[in-house]
């Protein structure tokens, strides 16, 4: 996966998030402040312009770090800093490597999950993005194929439905937060599935 592939992946992310924008916002209206889909779509649209500013030979790691910084500053709510952190951490692991192979991507996913957990002070089971990202990273690190990694992410996303939220605005709902998918977990699955394609 070279720089051009990373650019294509990020554009796919923007398109997929735009496609599911209303759904994500509807999920967030139940648990949060009802803007997750809109915020993510706006942030990922801003990435398109950012990518144009970087020369074609820019390494994948540098691109991901730049995108992470942009997301952290353009996406509203908690998801911007969290996704931004995840991408920056992944970019740091990628370093200056001109291309990314699957083992390196696995380590990047792991770093992204750890960075996100640290920043959000969350653990698996808190009903957050991490519930999708961590199992995906674990599967990749364990040497699973991208398809299996995606299956792990999907199961992680689905696991958020019965959970009682322990982080973010959904914390206010207490037991009433159970029975709904976490919008962050869903958007994370969308971003990972864009990678698997």
């Amino acid at each position: 996966m070279r720089g051009a592939d990373v650019r294509a992946y990020l554009r796919r992310c923007a398109a997929e998030i735009e496609r599911h924008r209303v759904y994500l916002t509807r999920l967030d209206a139940v648990l949060g402040d009802g803007d997750h889909g809109d915020n993510m779509a706006i942030g990922l649209q801003a990435i398109g312009e950012l990518l144009e500013a970087y020369p074609l030979e820019t390494s994948p790691g540098e691109l991901l770090r730049a995108v992470g910084h942009r997301l952290a500053t353009t996406v509203g709510g908690a998801s911007g800093p969290l996704y931004g952190t995840a991408l920056i951490e992944a970019g740091l692991v990628a370093g200056t490597a001109p291309s990314l192979d699957w083992p390196l991507i696995a380590r990047m996913l792991d770093a992204a999950a750890r960075g996100l957990a640290r920043r959000g002070r969350c653990v698996v089971g808190d009903k957050t993005i991490l519930d999708t990202l961590k199992p995906a990273a674990d599967a990749a690190v364990a040497g699973d194929t991208p398809g299996r990694m995606l299956m792990a992410a999907w199961r992680g996303m689905r696991s958020t439905r019965p959970l009682v939220a322990r982080r973010g605005l959904a914390l206010r709902l207490g037991a009433r937060s159970a029975g709904h998918l976490d919008p962050g977990a869903v958007s994370c699955f969308i971003l990972l599935s864009a990678m698997a394609r």
Partner: protein
């Protein structure tokens, strides 16, 4: 610089960069934690709910084992535990309020780290307990310390909001529960608030009235109360002076005019540029009707008393000043006697009404048979040879009544007397009775003029006579049926008038009497 020194220098610089990166990362983590805490605080909610969420978040941020939040009630000096995570040591033995010193002492005793919220004197305290063998996350504690003013403001706002909500609910309950109509308008006389009593008075849903001009909803001008430019609400908005009492009229959705009276005022304290005027109005139709009734009563009494008195005076003058033959004298004395009888009846009935209005009316109830009451009535009618006109159905086997026999005798006499008076001479009057579970229903049928349907409810009110008998020459005061109704109501019964069931012309007067307990049909 040799290679080794250069290598060490590079390693040192790399270490410095790594440390700087980690510091920046920690700083960013702290900022994010502070942001998340702020988001929770901004999400509002009741103080207790917010407190529960915040203590859970702070436990997470500080890596604490437990956390308790104590808040000062608005205007109070003591602190009360508002929320605590599970496992938090007890600070107050009986959950009662604590002074600031007591909070400090309890925190020391339980080895809590105490963080005051807000300025001195603090609005509250956060007590944090580290897990056994570990310490609190210093970055997390720093985040909480940085947020202490925000926490204080958020909880004070939540407390004020809760107080405001409670007061608003109480005020709304008072306004909505008021039996007086309460209508509030803005500076353009458009309705901004209307209570259920006002909606009922106007026959409109409150939602349909909001935003409309009061002149279109109350329709005072159409009701003939005042011109639109003399609206009392507009007047108080203009002048700022309240109107303590003013009478008006409103026209409801179905076109019925209702007389109202009440006060009008402009809101005493209002934000700049927002004017509100309020009318508190009461339906005074009943008062007006009573006034009219009283005026009518006085006028009727005066007329009814003066007429026989004038006759007596006239005949007496004639007897005193003219030489009359014995036949004429006899005639005049008969007329004086009739006028005196009429006066006596009238005064008796007026005294009866006065007695009936005494609350409670004293009744001497005792077991009595309806047949005995009718027999007594027949006996009274023998003197005027009217007894033959009264026919009865089978009355002997009826259960006993528990009534005041004098009062019910008076009712029978009055109703049968009316029948005899208004029915053609020699026409029969039929008294019937049917017993049910607890009541005896009595019917008295005549073949008289009948009572027009429009007058049937009114003839049970004082001084009202049906228009067909007013047009006849038959004299009456219009008090008899009213007295009967009140006497029967005092017994728990009721009286009503209607047509005869056999399609003959005339009237059926019906009333109910209570049976003696244990007596059934």
């Amino acid at each position: 610089m040799n290679d080794v020194a250069l290598h060490d220098r590079i390693a040192s610089l790399e270490q410095e960069v790594r440390r700087a990166f980690e510091d920046a990362q920690r700083e960013a983590d702290a900022m994010f934690a502070q942001y998340q805490l702020s988001q929770l605080l901004a999400s509002g909610g009741r103080p207790a709910d917010l407190a529960n969420v915040v203590v859970a978040e702070i436990v997470r941020v500080c890596g604490a084992a437990a956390c308790t939040l104590l808040l000062r009630e608005p205007g109070a000096t003591l602190f009360r535990q508002t929320a605590a995570t599970s496992g938090a040591p007890t600070l107050a033995a009986d959950d009662g309020p604590l002074s600031q010193d007591e909070v400090s002492r309890s925190a020391t005793t339980t080895e809590a780290i105490l963080l005051p919220l807000g300025e001195e004197p603090p609005e509250g305290f956060l007590a944090l307990w580290p897990a056994a063998g570990s310490r609190l996350d210093p970055d997390g504690v720093r985040v909480v310390q940085l947020s202490r003013h925000e926490l204080a403001v958020a909880f004070r706002s939540a407390q004020l909001r809760e107080t405001l909500d409670r007061e608003r609910q109480e005020l709304t309950a008072i306004v909505n529960g008021a039996t007086d109509a309460i209508i509030q308008v803005d500076e353009d006389c458009r309705i901004v608030r209307i209570n259920p009593a006002a909606s009922q008075l106007l026959g409109q849903f409150s939602d349909a009235s909001i935003g409309r001009r009061c002149s279109d909803v109350l329709r005072c001008a159409e009701a003939g109360a005042h011109a639109e430019d003399a609206c009392p609400l507009a007047e108080v908005i203009q002048s700022g002076r309240p109107i303590a009492y003013r009478e008006a009229a409103v026209l409801d959705a179905s076109g019925v005019v209702t007389c109202v009276a009440g006060g009008y005022s402009r809101a005493a304290s209002e934000p700049v540029g927002r004017v509100r005027a309020t009318a508190i109005l009461r339906d005074i139709s009943a008062v007006r009707a009573l006034e009219q009734l009283r005026e009518g009563f006085v006028a009727t009494i005066s007329h009814e008393l003066r007429t026989p008195l004038a006759l007596i005076r006239g005949y007496t003058d004639t007897l005193l000043h003219l030489q009359l033959g014995p036949g004429e004298e006899r005639h005049y004395l008969d007329r004086i006697d009739q006028a005196t009888q009429r006066l006596t009846t009238l005064v008796t009935e007026i005294l009866d009404i006065a007695h009936l209005q005494a609350d409670p009316l004293i009744l001497e109830r005792r077991p009595v048979s309806f047949a005995a009451l009718v027999a007594r009535l027949r006996g009274d009618l023998v003197a005027t040879s009217q007894d033959a006109r009264v026919a009865t159905t089978q009355l002997e086997d009826l259960p006993l009544l528990e009534v005041d026999p004098v009062r019910i005798g008076q009712v029978l006499e009055n109703v049968v007397g009316n029948a005899l008076k208004y029915a053609p001479p020699d026409s029969p009057i039929t008294i019937g009775a049917i017993a049910s579970a607890e009541w005896l229903t009595v019917t008295i049928d005549d073949e008289g003029l009948g009572i027009p349907e429009s007058d049937r409810a009114l003839v049970l009110e004082p001084f009202h006579r049906a228009h067909n008998v007013r047009e006849s020459n038959i004299q009456g005061t219009g008090l008899g049926l009213y007295i009967c109704r009140r006497l029967l109501e005092a017994h728990g019964g009721k009286l009503w008038v209607g047509d005869r069931p056999d399609a003959l012309s005339g009237t059926r007067v019906s009333f109910t009497l209570p049976l003696l307990k244990g007596e059934t049909a």
